[in-house]
Symmetry: D3
Subunit: 254 residues, 6 copies
């Protein structure tokens, strides 16, 4: 099977998009191409509510502008808003890395904990877990105090910070860890080695789960909250004009 998955970064940092796509490709099956997508506008990093709501729109804009074919969308912003919008926008399966990581973690342990970047992202991650129904399976969300911009500056130090925060999350009751930032992609193996528990990288999990849905021939429900709407086409303003021409494929507007 040859599949093409868009891995959409939630910020405008092209280097981070490349890192995400590389990590996603490394996790993918042979035959899968992971295409990194960088929003044309939006925050340089998304680490709080303002940025999260802006990137929700920017990411939909970026996908709506695509003229190439793709089989699924991976939303590579941990805890960011917008997955419900993306599901309404395109008919292909949409997998948010927050969901993929939480679900994979639930298959590997009893309760998971999230290790994220900075404190300003914690509330949004909790909200995301709540709306997906995973609050009760999450022991805690803790920040390692590593801003996104500093992750790659000193990877060893980043790993140390994640390890320390991971230990705190385990004390809170987690037997599985979830990496709470797309920028942490690829650090799961190192942390597993240090901590002795499964560590889930949402980008990798999302790529595999997206492949699974594609292989099963599934598409997002066109009945109910994600039904495409003709009204999508009535917009004002250039910035998001792309959404005016969104082709919702075989899904019939309600």
């Amino acid at each position: 099977m040859t599949v093409r998955i868009l891995a959409v970064n939630c910020n405008t940092d092209a280097a981070m998009t490349t890192a995400i796509a590389t990590a996603g490709q490394a996790a993918a099956s042979a035959g899968t191409t992971v295409v990194g997508v960088t929003p044309a506008w939006g925050p340089a990093s998304a680490e709080g509510y303002v940025e999260s709501f802006v990137t929700a729109a920017a990411v939909m804009d970026a996908v709506a502008r695509r003229t190439d074919a793709f089989d699924a969308v991976v939303m590579a912003g941990f805890g960011e808003h917008g997955r419900e919008g993306m599901r309404q926008l395109v008919p292909q399966p949409v997998v948010d890395i927050t969901e993929a990581a939480a679900f994979a973690a639930c298959l590997l342990g009893h309760r998971f904990g999230v290790v994220t970047t900075v404190g300003s992202t914690v509330a949004g991650i909790r909200d995301s877990l709540m709306t997906m129904g995973m609050s009760a399976r999450c022991s805690s969300v803790r920040a390692a105090d590593v801003p996104i911009s500093a992750i790659d500056a000193d990877v060893a130090r980043t790993a140390d910070a994640l390890e320390e925060t991971g230990r705190a999350v385990m004390v809170d009751g987690a037997d599985v860890l979830v990496l709470g930032c797309a920028g942490f992609a690829g650090l799961d193996a190192e942390l597993e080695r240090r901590l002795g528990v499964p560590v889930v990288d949402g980008v990798a999990a999302a790529v595999r789960f997206a492949e699974s849905l594609i292989a099963l021939g599934k598409r997002t429900s066109a009945h109910g909250p994600y039904a495409p709407r003709a009204a999508h086409k009535r917009w004002t303003g250039a910035p998001l004009g792309s959404l005016m021409s969104s082709d919702s494929g075989e899904r019939t507007p309600e």
Copy 2:
């Protein structure tokens, strides 16, 4: 006290903004000015997830562009996303009409029901009630099958549809109704007369609650998830460039 409240419409329909501002002004204290704000871009109506996430960004953009002084923001989109972002963006109190209506309803009855426009908005309204903690106080959310664009075309018919749906919501266990769209502003009295239960118009309630917070001298917490971030200023792209110059007033970035 002379106060100035921005009532931000969540769509680009200027006539609807005028209607919202008028309804808000009618509900306001003497000395309060309610200023309608229309986003410069975004959906003509917000009745689903794609539109809701786009308007969340558009509404923040609209407020960030203001150069005039204001004392509070009323977010006049029922069930729309973004209130947490707005709270992080500006230091003044932010009152979402969904919150205001739910809280007012809880002060007037035991369980409230929401009567909204069309079915595509129901899931988003439920999500909003869940994240604010009001799910257990809400008996049901039902759509009257009146698209926003049709509300004013035949007001009598709109009132009839709301009455019928209101009766269904009461059967579900509600003893108070909430009007689930800013476009319904002003219909509460008529529905109260017909149904014999309190009917809450979120725009009116939000204006009064915003005045209350202003009078009490309160501002959004600058500690925790709504703390302003210096990083807000790092953006790519013109559309939301406004957010680059957002003045978060006396709140110190963390």
Copy 3:
């Protein structure tokens, strides 16, 4: 608008009633008169379950005995029982300071914490938050170990205790504080200054929210659990004979 609000103390300490009424008046709009009401019988302070259930009856008795006109009732006992009874007793809006504080706090921050007097009140406050649906928005309820009788004896010491407990509540995750006793009314500004987060005084918030409901022309639902009952008039015993003559105004008994 000229409005008259009864602020009902939950204990029989007339000095405390005066303090509550003064604080409520200070928070009120011009044109509003806040009338303090002291129950004719009941506990000298309400700091536990026995006292709370007794005062629930005493406070209804006190309001039922009123022969003057009023526009709303503010129940000035934090966490005390009885708001549902008061809503059934009189047709005017009833605002419990626990509700008002919780709702105001939710408009100002992401999660609130309650700082109350002594440990014996904590469980009742939690119950109150649970039945109003606010448990998930509350990070913790902590006691400052300041009995009601000691609040005014040494205000500086009271403020110190509240500050210390407030810091503990913030560590628990609160970005807004709620003063968990009517006797703390007026201390919010001082604590805001010390702690740097919004501090909500329920008495002040309740007066403003009551004014809001009055201005919006709302009354408690006469349909459902708060419907007045003719059976109210069948009582035995003098103490609460007052309830026999309760005039539930325009609300028709079910």
Copy 4:
């Protein structure tokens, strides 16, 4: 073992007290004496919030006035408020018939439904189940539209109404029924015969559970929310003066 249990009616109808005590005695072990207690004041029937909060105080008053020895208190008002207060008032075990019925039902089936008297009691019963943690085990609470005053007027008709409502509750998912009024005591066998599912009479269950706690030598916790308070003794007003002399036995005030 010779034990003496106070079965406290929640209204002032002495005939109903006698019926409750008779039903309780019939359910009791040999050696147990069930003593009916009628409050000296309060509502003729408790079928709503006003009455429920008044009777919470009246019932505590009635027990505080007892000069005889007793081993446990059964609170025979289904869904009425006040059990937490009674637990703080006396050191002996306190069993509310709402709790006893719910717990017994959970031992006999998967989900229980409550059949109560009139609609005005439903919300209070739901609140009671929520604070005791039993909401998720209850499929529904439905009223048979039989006021308390009419139960005995035509027992056959009462049984017919309970049967019909019981069938509705079973459709809602219940495999066990709970009789939602102390006045229904004794009708459980007849309804079991008609409906083919276990039917729990809270009075009978509470008497047996009270005996169990006595036999096990247990008393209410004097640590935490039910710790007796010396402050109980500071009261104003004759009506509840009884509480001034409440002897909380071996429990030491905190």
Copy 5:
């Protein structure tokens, strides 16, 4: 009344069965015979998920093999799986010691804590409390690090460990303790003396609650999830062949 209660140990340690039966008999009414039952196969101790699911089957097997008459079943494995199966298997009342302890604790205090043996049992106990609806009433479950096999080796040391863990559970908010292992039966009085709060032994509570249900003439619901099934008789394999001949008494298969 002469009643016969099967107290089914969840492991194959006959000495522990004797201890459980002895403790149950000590708690029983005159006229009650508590018969200890040891499964014919299964784990030597049940302290984790594998053992818990095996013992669920083994315990049903043991009861299905009984040829003597009995009036109720007490399942004497704290937190072990299988109570729903036992309820479907036999028509007599089934009381799980986890349920009995939780319900008794709720009648004696506001929130209970569980003190169990080793950490590997904690998750299963939490699951059990969740499915019975008691999670919100439980402050915490903590292990004393006393393996079942070590309980009787040094009773004084066991009591010391329980005391220390009990104090931690009280700090977590418990005002009542629950002994989280059938092997702790009989230690409640000693711990009450040390800690000053009620301590509930589930075996004793379950025997008394089983007697209560028998006295009230109740049987498990044969309508709904626990309805006996004719299909029970279609099995493969000798080990559980006993279940093929289970006589579900007067309950008619659905």
Copy 6:
């Protein structure tokens, strides 16, 4: 990648095992071998609590007896107990079809509904969804009144029954359906065609998710509730003697 997945039927019907393995193989990647496993003993079909708890043990026994290598276990009993035990038993990833179906459904729609066989399985399925944290995402679980033994007897009639029940579940609020029985495997495409919404077959989803976890190199957490226990080796009785020799691979007993 060459992987070998055990697909364990929860009953002793070898024909059903074959059907499950065939469906699983059809859904699998090239390079994956799906090996059907039939328990050596247990129920001919699992459609209720007794059978579910027996099969939990039988399925662990069947896997413990395997002497061949395998990479993951798929538990092919919808709603059956035991996944936590299997996770403790073997170090390889374990995917329950109930989990896989629920998680896949959440990636494809807003709320899912389950269509199962007969009413006696509904409560167990609800319990399973509750312990995995998915209750709030499930609109309803409904039975098509098709016993497992009748599924293949008349496939057209089975499809008709599932369609009718599927429509009822959609009225309850589902926008995605989940097939609530391993025996329904392969009917998802036909139902999607009829109903126009995604229909998830848990067997297919579980095989793909198991492959995903294998590809990501993940194993069940050996820290916490699923840690292997040396005590597993202390058993009495031949039937489950297999568990005595379970090799928990590289996971060190705690």
